[in-house]
Amino acid sequence: MSGFVELIARAKASGDIQGLVDAIPYHAYLGIRAREENGALIATLPRNEKTIGNPVLPAIHGGVIGAFLETTAIFHLLWTGQTVHVPKTITITVDYMRSAGVTDTYAKASITKLGSRVANVRARAWQDDPERPVAAVNANFLIKPAEDG
């Protein structure tokens, strides 16, 4: 069993949600933060000029928003689900509702169906107003229960 699987198990046991986030290099690169609020996991993508995809508007790159939502879904699965392995994305569909301004962005996920092999997860991202999402994803992940480790 690799050190990373142990790290996930330790982070879950100690409630160190940010430790779990930082264990993945790309998350640290984007500066993603996560916290629990009323039992739900809220992820934050802090304002960062290097994420700009459209300098005219300006707006965050759609790929970064997609990545952030995929990440939020993965954290949600790791944090609430039975798996201690990083879920593998099978398919992801990103819907873009509005351009994401260069400011803090938040996201929240929910599990639609947790099967023994596949989890279907939805996540949505917003900026100033949770009722005005900038984007949402629907994704299917391959998961591996902890006991298979």
């Binding site: 640290a28 690169y29 290097k50 300098p55 995929e70 569909t93």
Partner: protein, 159 residues
Amino acid sequence: MADPPTDGPVNPTKAAFSSPIPHVAELGIELVEAGGGRGIMRLPWRENLVGNPETGVLHGGVVTTLIDSICGIACLTALEKPQPIATLDLRIDYLRPATPRRDIFAAAQAYKVTRQVVFTRATAYQDGPDDLVAASVGTFMLTGRLGVRAAKTGAKGAS
């Protein structure tokens, strides 16, 4: 960002899209070719873009950025007149994990242009166009009116 030296004459379409996207430059993504509603980009492997430290495989989100970017460029080269665009939706199927420490390429085609929407398809691959890592379909809105509004408010942008 300077273009690498090329053997032949510089492709004017490629030159036009070489550097205006800050995040694409930030990730080290390079435009290989673009024109006529098609485009190819290359993403070199980088340790800080890894999504699974158990395996060294890049984060899927980086592939999303690569595919979104090249689909956008394919759209722009398919338009008769330059217009701003915005991704409406993008579906990506991950066919296999990308092999660590190797480049990932993405090739896109804007296969249908309508008055308001452009339809795209794309693949990501490593050892050749048949060695697929991911497949994607997307739609892009033509947002000319928004672009005009941004210009009027004095927003500075790419040349």
